[in-house]
Amino acid sequence: MNHLYTRPLRVYVILGALALWGIFSGLQLPISLFPNSSQITIATNIPTGSLSSQQFFETYGRELEAGLQGLKIDSTSVKELRAEYQNQNTLYRITFEWGADPEKSLLEVKNLVNTRFSSASDEIRRGIWVQSWSENRGFFAVSFYSPMRSLDDLYQTLEPSITPVRSQIDDAGSFGLWNPNRKEITISLIPEKLAQYEISTVQVQREIQSAVVGLTGGTLRLGEKDYLIDLPKNVDNFAMLSQIRVSPRGKAAIFLKDIAKITSGISRDSRQKFKTSGVDSLILFASPKEGGNIKKMADQILQQLEILRKQWPADVEFKILVNPSEFINSSVLSVVHEVFLAAFLAVIVLFIFIGSFKNVVTAAIEIPISLLMAFILMRLAGMNLNLISLGGLALSAGMNVDASVVVLENIIRHFEHLKGKVLSYQEKVALVIKAVAEVRTPIIASTLASLVVFFPLIFTQGLTHSLLGDLAKAVIFSHGLSAIVALILVPTIRLQLLSMGQNLESHSPIEGLLRKLESFYGRTLEGFLSNKKWQAIVFGSVTLLLPVLVVLVLPRLEKEVIGKPDSDWLLVGINSPAFSTVKQMESELDNLEDSITKNFGDEMLYTFTQIESAHDGNIMIRMKHKDKIAAMVEKAEETYKNTPTLSYWVESWNPSELSIPDPPQFRLEVVGGEPVKRLQAAQDIHALLTEKGIFDKVQVTPTADKEKEIRVQPFFNSGSESEVLSKEELSHYLRVATDGVYAERIFQKQQELPIYLRSASDEVTSVDQLKAFPVGFEGRLIPLGALAQISLEDRAPRIYREDQKSLILIRGRLNKAQLKFTKERQAQASEAIREFKSKRPTDNTDLPSIVEVQADKDLQQSLDQLKWAVAISIALVFLTMVIQLGDIVHSLLVLVAIPLGFIGVLVSLFVFRSTLSLNSGLGTILLNGIAVANSIILVDFIRKLHQEGKSAKVATVEASLARLRPILMTSLTTVLGMLPIALGFGEGGKILQPLGIAVCGGLWVSMLLTLYIVPALQYLYLARKENKSV
């Protein structure tokens, strides 16, 4: 090192090169909102074919579930398996533990399902799909418009160039241009004509298919060449469809035009609909695949669109509706601002205490350098820039100067001793080396102490690990490097400045104030030490305060996994079971849109309407400013109150990529028993909880309703099929009459036109109407009701299974404003359930059991893990202290700072209405490391002075006074550095706010109390020892 300090150029070049590498690495780091570890859920849907849900479960389900549950991707296993057996389909959702590889998970599930169903019927095998599943995934949307073109024209202009772009987008899961004017050819079959000519719908479909599809007749070799025998399609355009012959061979020719009206128009099947600012538009939708980076995807699409724009006619414009990239950029950027702000504030604190600009720069230079070098390690560790890792950097910015400050101070102290003497260069070098050597061990030890607390986080799992891993790594990288940089760079700069003959003395600009503070501290501490009454009061109240806070405040803190960033999207949704058509929903949303424009017109930019079905639609409102979103949500909640026929939901929406669990407040499982009895019990409990109004929402999975179905039971004669209508024909006929049946498609002007068979008669709205459908037979018209028993019947209860166990799930949720009553409501609900259970007959063994399950299992697990991490980190700090101090009592004295910090954490979390979350837990861990640093300085110095022979009181007061400034300086750089985070500046700051509050509040309180309580305790201990020895 000797050589190092004397060769400044070499040090600067090396560090400069590292900094450049750091900049390069930093620019290469992918950006996302959250750490890139995620929880994978794979969904697979399997048609039940001709089997009922119960039969399907018995034939395939039980075995498949066992197989799925046993899957292992590398070392991650299946965390949860949910299976829903419905009447026509079975849906399995397989959720892996955090961190499973998305591609491998998908492949494994695919393989298993394909193997299990390799010998199943064609109908089942053809309908199987396996894909990754996400309940809340961000998406990207762009709308296209042109003042000169119709939507059709626009679609035809754009579609051929947009669809191929998909292959260029690496992380896209779904990608497609949505056309509101999607056309279809509707063949409206006239039931009377079908009956009259005795033609079945199955026959019509067959004839259409054979007409529009071309076939081949093999090849024939003529001479030296093979000739393909081609049977071209007879019909390739709309006009020719009417000429398709539908009557069977050997009978009079009947054409499609005789039995149907053939029209081409906007698809009747389009249940989904999207509008921008109230106008239909072409929309490009894209969402990332599982594990994909949504920001990268959005950026790539935009890039491609910009290229394509040049090929398109000049009148084609596009507008970005939803761009997660923009949101992520601004969120991440706001945390970057916080990093800078934190560094700036730390520098200000330094300046206030040190005074000399040169000295401040010498110490502060290491903030950017350790940060840039941390980027190198982050890149090597495969991390990305996200709110969490950047938050870690912001946190460490204030802590990072500590090491430099200590080195700097010690060098100054050594030179102050030799004030006035003229030193040779060699003497200066020797002195600097000596000064650094003195503090090297303490710096490394104290840095290790503040990093060792993160060690237990390595052993956390799942969510905690995924979310906090990045933060811990970022802090370890940047703070660890800061110690190394401090030991190398600071002495080098000092030495160079010294050799240039610079005067390095400096005085704080608030020297007078600091002196006053010191004298005040000296007097009060001395008074405190000699007043037994005050000591009793303070020790007593502090000892009392902590348990009081733990009992009273801790349970009242809201719990959450992690905060979510603010967004500029307000979402107002409508739910209406009473609506039967998409048109109804559309007109209601139009009304809502008008009202929103009236109420929020000044605050919003544009709206984006999504109609999911006749019962479900929402309007997304893009606001001008993010900061007003909370007020807007409240205003919207106030404005849009449920009516008997409509229910509204309001929330702020953000294109988050991470499925952060949103656990209900209450969770109950109805397990076992007969399916019918299970449903009955679930219904009763649902009614009970709803009636008592304990929760704002009670959800039942799969359903609380006794479901009905329209059962059509053909009267077949003695097992054989009916002479009039086969079962297949009957089912086809009914499907044509209700949903419509896809027959085939034709291409016209390169545009795909699907052909649907529908019924020309009025929409069927009653069972009687269904019974009256005509079927032709031997010149007579037979009503459908004569051929089959058509009736409304109870449907077999759906089977829902979790982790291979049949159950019905009941979940209670509270609105945001009611969350503080969670405990009370949970207790009320448990009481109600106890009462309900006590009334049930006990002798009946068929009854399902009702099990209350901890609702927020994930969250609780995470918090429990954190509790352990906190405990272990305290133990580790203690061990470090024992090793360093070699004395258990003094080590314990050092640890007193930790409970004092807890008081600060609890009070500030409560006062600032923050939450008990992963972040505040992490803040507490971080605090443990920092808080002991203060007390260790005190304890160590008091002990030293006492060992030098000073009396307990003198040693205590003197040492405390001498250490006041370093304690204030290091604490204030940290506290002020974290202040922007604690105040939640910027939307990214909201996520880390609990952490900032915990550290700021905790450190502040711990510092103040440490300054009095630790010296007092140590004084009592030393005084007692003195008395004993006397």
């Binding site: 303070v538 008997p644 008592k692 009256a772």
Partner: protein, 295 residues
């Protein structure tokens, strides 16, 4: 000094406690839609497809083997009863090749000609059909399950899907006692009762709807039901804006309504929909002038 600090903390904490325990929320009265219970005629509806046919219709076939020499009355000609439609020339020398006139047995219009001039016909071949377009009948097939309520004289309504406004009164003329095992139906003949009306064309297929009164019933919409211990209940308006729950005994379900066997009485008002689940003691905010349409 220290106690000041502590006291400050304590008081801040206390303040915060005080603030958070202030949980009084504004009273939220649920909005509800009501429906008044009315006694309705219990109508059993039978809907069957029907075909309009000519009541008087005659299909004439050849009595002899020979050639069609001349068709006097082409398709669509109005003919009187006994008028000659075509001539058949007998091939049999025993009949001296005389042209035999084939006459229409009924007055009407030639609606179908199955042969053509100079065509050879055999005995029994179809020659032509004469129908009387003025006198129409309707033919229908009734499912055997409905037969007990269908008898001659039963009146109903005829409508054609394509022209919705056209509704014509009809009457059952007679029902065959024979049920065809293959279709599960019995044939029936119906007629239009209003002879003055503009009647549909022969060949038209439409729907006949019969409503058979079976007394009176009370029906409630499915949405108004709540369940307690698995038993159906309705919320009946009590006083001005309160409610009480009453158990009901349900009969069959008809589309989205239920027949009520007992439990509610005429004139009572029941809650059909509400803006949130109702709890005991709720004061109802009744939505005026919006009531669900009674089925």
């Amino acid at each position: 000094m220290k106690h000041v600090l502590l006291l400050t903390f304590m008081s801040v904490t206390n303040l915060a406690f005080a603030a958070s325990s202030d949980s009084a929320k504004p009273v939220d009265h649920p909005k509800v839609l009501l429906e008044e219970i009315k006694t309705l005629d219990d109508k059993k509806r039978i809907i069957v497809p029907v075909k309009v046919e000519a009541k008087i219709q005659s299909l004439v076939s050849a009595d002899i083997e020979g050639h069609v020499t001349k068709i006097l009355k082409p398709l669509g000609s109005t003919v009187k009863a006994g008028e000659t439609i075509l001539f058949l020339e007998n091939k049999d020398p025993g009949f001296t090749y005389a042209a035999v006139p084939v006459r229409s047995p009924v007055a009407g219009v030639v609606s179908q000609i199955w042969t053509s001039q100079m065509a050879k016909v055999s005995r029994g071949d179809k020659l032509f059909t004469v129908i009387n377009p003025k006198t129409l009948k309707l033919s229908a097939e009734f499912p055997s399950s409905d037969l007990y309520s269908v008898s001659s004289g039963l009146t109903g309504e005829f409508k054609v899907d394509s022209s919705r406004d056209l509704k014509l009164a009809i009457r059952v003329v007679g029902v065959s006692p024979l049920v065809d095992a293959r279709t599960g139906t019995a044939s029936a003949e119906l007629e239009f009762t209003d002879t003055q009306a503009i009647l549909p064309q022969i060949g038209t297929i439409g729907q006949a709807t019969f409503e058979i009164n079976q007394g009176s019933i009370i029906m409630i919409p499915e949405a108004s039901l709540v369940f307690q211990d698995g038993k159906p209940m309705v919320r009946v308006l009590k006083g001005k804006n309160e409610f009480s729950k009453k158990a009901v005994v349900l009969g069959e379900q008809r589309d989205s309504s239920y027949v009520v066997k007992s439990g509610v009485a005429m004139g009572e008002k029941i809650v059909v929909r509400s803006s949130r689940p109702l709890k005991e003691g709720d004061v109802l905010d009744i939505e005026a002038n919006k009531t669900e349409k009674t089925q």
